[in-house]
Subunit: 335 residues, 2 copies
Amino acid sequence: MTCTVCRGPAVIDLRRHNANFCAEHFLRFCRDQVAKAISQHDMIAPGDRVLVAVSGGKDSLALCDLLVDLGYHVEAMTIGLGIGDYSEASTAAAVAYAETRGLPLRRIDLRDEYGYDIPTAAAVTRRVPCSSCGMSKRHLIDRAALEGGFDLVATGHNLDDEAAVLLGNVLHWNAEYLGRQAPVLPARDGFPRKVKPLVRLSERETAAYCVLRGIDYIVDECPMAEGNRHLRYKEALDSIEAASPGTKHAFYFEFLDKAADRFQPDVAQAQEGLRPCARCGSPTTTDVCAFCRLVERTAHAEPVPVELLRAGRGRGRGRARRGAGGAAQSRAATS
Amino acid sequence: MTCTVCRGPAVIDLRRHNANFCAEHFLRFCRDQVAKAISQHDMIAPGDRVLVAVSGGKDSLALCDLLVDLGYHVEAMTIGLGIGDYSEASTAAAVAYAETRGLPLRRIDLRDEYGYDIPTAAAVTRRVPCSSCGMSKRHLIDRAALEGGFDLVATGHNLDDEAAVLLGNVLHWNAEYLGRQAPVLPARDGFPRKVKPLVRLSERETAAYCVLRGIDYIVDECPMAEGNRHLRYKEALDSIEAASPGTKHAFYFEFLDKAADRFQPDVAQAQEGLRPCARCGSPTTTDVCAFCRLVERTAHAEPVPVELLRAGRGRGRGRARRGAGGAAQSRAATS
């Protein structure tokens, strides 16, 4: 197997691009794909201050690395979710990366600052953990970006993530979510601008990028996400992609080209109902936003150890299904 | 396991309905689902003459049986595709069923009447067999319905078929096909009205229906369809359905409710380019329709034995992919 560019020994084959690359040209390929995504979708303007949501996983660390490499002004933030050893190792990976590369890192800890953690939130709400996790991350990232005066938030959603979320959204034809599923969400009242510069890279590629760049990331999947819908959608798409390389790319990018606009009226309609949360001022469709309600509901709850709760297990089916839908739509806000 | 209706011993469990049925109540369930589909989508008016496209498989034979049972005026047609033993056994099953039940059956044989068969068509066109097969069946069924003065054509597409076709169409965001994917296609110049009364039943259910009704159907899948995209899409959806029963139903029916209308402009646009085929008069976007061109191209071709050709094998990737897309959209026109 030889590199498509230089004919030297290749370290990776990319079937959907019908190409193989040596380490040097693979790293260049990744940088070019991110630069292309940023330019094609007008993600970041020169001089923008970018807040990167970092989980400690391959995607968010690769994203930091690539944005810095491309010359952007980047700061990172990470959220301690309290999911036992997994969260500790995730935070440690984020901290180690930031220290080694001299990257400013903001740290928020759910338990210390808001009095709850994800296992406890899942137990109290009786929904899949991914549901309160995604909501909490979105809320705190939005707030940090606005309070910190950042021009935008960048998240590490890769092509596999976006294709799986899109599959979940079409399986249920959630018109509003479909209208919102874009690589760029413009800023609007109470929401920062959000971009996904990794949409042209697969998760196999971001993992290879980290390995080749010597970035230590947390390899384990979140133990609470086991068996969730998002992972099932990924597996279903993986089986199709294996037989027809390029399917995920076509699925996502053809959607953006040919279908996304058709769902814009639903987004506009949903936005009409937004008003400031009575507690924190964040945009919400209810008096008090979901985050403030969660903080309230968990205030006097006994902390629940992560081992007692796993996604999709031991919870009522109806509730678990409702929760999982939301999780599929919003997962990996900091991944 | 007891019947949800009568508490007698159940013979089948239907997870997406959270129900079990004995033989009697399962057969009634199937009839009710077909009656509901017909009524909800205004498929058949009293007194309509219905042409049912029959392959000899479970779906088309169950469809005949259910429509007769519901009191509709039904005639059947079957097409000899020349796919070796498979086609012979399929035709034999269709003939045996029609004879036993006293159902009028029209028979067309591709080789006898049009000088080609599917394996030869696949070899000549160098595309997956499902491509010329679907096109040939659509053309001949449309023509038989119009020439025979039928009010409509009914086909045996079940929920699994429709969900898999829908998945193929969203994976490529084929807007025109999406706009056309309805349980009823109204008649228009040169096209008969077409309906799919089995859209509320899964293929496991139509198979069980045949077994319980003592209908001998051909169990084998078409040997030329092996490994085609449509089957891959079915498998992907099966894995999701197994974990979340009801997903396929929601995927298809929510699409009809919330999304299908958004793709109507593309259908209207595609129809603008239709004109009569210079040879046979059928609507087409080219001077000579695809069917007449196929008849012409295969006129002097040496017959190809089925064993030499299997879907997705030994053919150029680009062509096979193009062909398979069309096949996924149109498969099972007579199944």
